[in-house]
């Protein structure tokens, strides 16, 4: 190790003379040279370990993702393994069967990468733009709410319910995102709703 090698302390001229390494100092200098020669053929590879949150459900278990290649150093990174994070207080190293299969989730060919639309009557999904997707969702939600919003119950008491649409929000979010999601969704009167703020 390239620690600080301080000046000699007391041994004076009787010392062993200048010896650069521990192996040299004990008289194993020749095997050190042989080892240095042998290792020259090998090279180092960058790997990364990254903490993240499992995206499946609102429990939000901690995971450690291992990847080959280092993005910081301009390399292509590829995830090679995912395991439960022992240091995470929620799951303490455990994962459910879905979480344990996260690597396949990441690498799945059918993984959703952009908004997809299956039109009524169609048998396949087609790619659409974000503006189109969000605009369409907003339009349909508004129409559905206008048609089915329940302002009062049978006794005439104000309830402001919207029971014909539901909302499922993300797990890996901050408290602030979860709070805001809750406020927006509940303000519309929506009843069927789940996100991380539940747990």
């Amino acid at each position: 190790m390239n620690m600080e090698l301080s000046r000699r302390q007391f041994l004076g001229a009787a010392g062993a003379g200048v010896a650069g390494t521990a192996l040299g100092a004990f008289g194993f200098g020749d095997i050190e040279a042989a080892h240095a020669e042998a290792i020259r053929a090998f090279k180092l590879v960058n790997t990364t370990e990254t903490r993240n949150t499992c995206p499946y459900c609102s429990v939000a278990c901690g995971v450690i993702m291992y990847s080959k290649g280092d993005l910081k150093k301009g390399e292509q990174a590829e995830i090679i393994h995912i395991e439960g994070d022992t240091d995470h207080p929620t799951n303490r190293g455990t994962l459910c069967p879905k979480g344990a299969a996260l690597l396949d989730f990441v690498k799945s060919e059918t993984r959703l990468k952009y908004p997809m639309l299956r039109k009524p009557g169609s048998d396949r999904f087609e790619r659409v733009g974000w503006d189109e997707a969000i605009g369409r969702i907003a339009r349909l939600m508004k129409d559905d709410r206008d048609a089915n919003f329940i302002q009062t119950n049978g006794d005439g008491v104000t309830v402001n319910r919207w029971t014909t649409a539901g909302f499922l929000a993300a797990s890996a979010t901050t408290n602030e995102t979860a709070w805001e999601t809750y406020k927006v969704v509940r303000s519309t009167g929506m009843v069927a709703f789940d996100n991380q703020a539940r747990v």
Partner: protein
């Protein structure tokens, strides 16, 4: 009638919950003998065999003198309370001054090490520490406590370090693990020593947790993963390994302090020893030497790389 049965699903019990203890104090009775066996096993593979066999015998010597040493005593309650109040490690390294037990340890270890089959340079260094007076030995111990080695007396200091290991392993084993609290990042919570390396363990009940290994007293302490062992930063941590070598030894690099430390994956290679495998993985040090990071912690057996 109750519908509850013993097989009712309990989602909290899925998988194996890991609850690692904060410290695992060393057991002198097995520490050096297990390490010696690991050195011998590693000597069977690769060209470092002569050095590894020498270190195996040095560990045998450390193990051999344990039985006749006076039993170590835990610090008194007042010293423990003071250490706790000021967030200091319970073992006071300055207490070695005038500690007759340490002198006995040194004398017996150097006598036992005399029988080791070793090169002339090692024999000469041993003769020098064996004939050194207590003040000289104390001066060398103090240098070791600062995690430095004088470049022209490495072998002598390693012999002194071997004696200190025996002494402090005994002291640490006498502590109460429940009373040992974190002191600071990169500092042993038992004796204040620097970590030799760290390892991710596969022990039952602690699987996947990382423990730092003290270079002085052999205490293992739990340390959060993906966090620099040297400075405590969690930003810019990377891992480098030798291509095609199984990935159970890596260099954990930190872009904050520009240091690196060795991390072992004991969960993948159960026989791993944080000191023996450190020496056997010298190749990683050799390759890292050309990089931008400098190795931190304290690993005297690899001094100079």
């Amino acid at each position: 009638m109750s519908r509850k049965t013993a097989v009712a699903p309990d989602p909290t019990a899925i998988g194996n919950v890991s609850s690692p203890p904060f410290v695992r104090l060393p057991d002198p009775a097995s520490l050096f003998s297990v390490r010696s066996a690991r050195f011998r096993q590693l000597a069977g593979t690769g060209e470092l065999a002569p050095y590894l066999n020498f270190l195996a015998q040095l560990n045998d010597a450390q193990h051999g003198i344990l039985a006749d040493l006076p039993p170590a005593e835990a610090p008194d309650a007042e010293a423990l309370a003071r250490a706790h109040a000021f967030e200091m490690p319970p073992l006071d390294r300055n207490a070695i001054e005038g500690d007759s037990a340490l002198e006995i340890t040194f004398d017996r270890l150097f006598a036992a090490a005399d029988a080791i089959d070793k090169p002339r340079a090692a024999a000469k260094a041993l003769a020098r520490v064996a004939s050194a007076d207590p003040a000289q030995r104390l001066a060398m111990a103090r240098t070791l406590f600062t995690s430095t080695l004088p470049g022209d007396a490495i072998a002598e200091h390693i012999f002194i370090w071997a004696g200190l290991q025996v002494h402090f392993t005994g002291l640490a084993s006498a502590l109460d693990a429940a009373g040992v609290k974190p002191v600071a990042d990169g500092v042993c919570p038992a004796c204040g020593g620097a970590p030799a390396s760290s390892m991710v363990v596969g022990w039952h009940g602690s699987h996947g947790a990382r423990f730092c290994s003290c270079s002085l007293c052999g205490t293992l302490w739990h340390y959060v993963r993906i966090k620099c062992v040297l400075c405590g930063s969690t930003k810019g941590i990377g891992y480098q390994e030798i291509e095609g070598h199984g990935g159970f030894v890596k260099a954990e690099t930190c872009d904050t302090c520009h240091g690196w430390s060795k991390i072992f994956y004991q969960d993948k290679a159960p026989g791993l020893d944080p000191v023996a495998d450190d020496v056997a993985s010298l190749g990683l040090d050799l390759l890292m030497r050309d990089g931008p990071y400098r190795r931190g912690g304290f690993a005297p057996l690899l001094a100079g790389f």
